[in-house]
């Protein structure tokens, strides 16, 4: 499911809209993931506060979203562009890749809420394809 030129253009266009609300997107996505899929909390047991909108959640939400922007910049070669991030997830964080899909779903739900007019089915398709490729690139170094 390679990204076509049209997909890439749609992703880049939508990312530029997202930048105005990055913090909100990150915080909402992470907050929701921890509540709706409680098993994901297992990766954050060392945080003092896992409640929606808490400081660690907000801070980390920004880190996640910046990672997504970084991936968008490297959209033409995700596998190589995200090697360091992949190594981080594979060797240090050791997040089961099934959770990437969970995070992606939560992000799509948040995008639908924050951008009701812009998150059309066509944009949804392009963003979902892109994020699936990002997840694959992140899992590259796992084994």
């Amino acid at each position: 499911m390679t990204l076509s030129a049209k997909d890439k253009a749609a992703v880049k266009g939508f990312m530029s809209k997202m930048k105005s609300r990055s913090e909100e997107i990150g915080a909402e996505t992470l907050s929701r993931m921890l509540v709706v899929y409680p098993q994901t909390k297992s990766y954050f047991a060392h945080w003092p506060d896992l409640a929606p909108g808490s400081a660690p959640v907000r801070e980390h939400g920004v880190i996640f979203i910046n990672g997504v922007y970084e991936a968008a910049d490297k959209i033409d070669d995700l596998k190589n562009g995200l090697l360091t991030l992949s190594e981080l997830h594979a060797f240090m964080l050791r997040v089961d890749p099934v959770n990437f899909k969970i995070f992606i779903h939560c992000m799509l739900v948040v995008l639908a809420m924050l951008f009701p007019e812009d998150f059309t089915p066509q944009v949804h398709l392009a963003v979902d394809k892109f994020l699936a490729q990002v997840a694959l690139a992140l899992a590259e170094k796992y084994r």
């Binding site: 009701p116 949804h124 979902d128």
Partner: protein
Amino acid sequence: MVEWTDSEREYINIIFSNMDYDDIGPKALARCLIVYPWTQRYFGGFGNLYNADAIMANPMIAAHGTKILHGMDRALKNMDDIKNTYATLSELHSEKLHVDPDNFRLLGDCLTVVIAGKMTVKEFTPDMQAAWRKFLSVVVAALGKQYH
């Protein structure tokens, strides 16, 4: 037996009572066919599915989307026994329609996105989303129950 808390029941009821079936149903099904194009395999007799615009304008798809939502209504009205409520529907999807049960999950995800799109982050709270997700996973499991 699935246990539902009072707040979960309330959340699910709120979502359904605020839902315009004729709007959400068509949008959810169309989005599923666009975002996951392989799901179109089940809609060969439904006319023009050539591109996103055609899918979104297709009246047969729209009618079917509404029908699906009304089917989910039955789960809402029988929340304490969705498994048995859906026994015949499950058999239908398995024996007659031959739908891969993973598609139920895909449609459920698109339905969640469409429902969320009608609400703000303060309305569709994480707790409401969690209740909705639980409801969907029970529905999906019940629909897959009679497959063999």
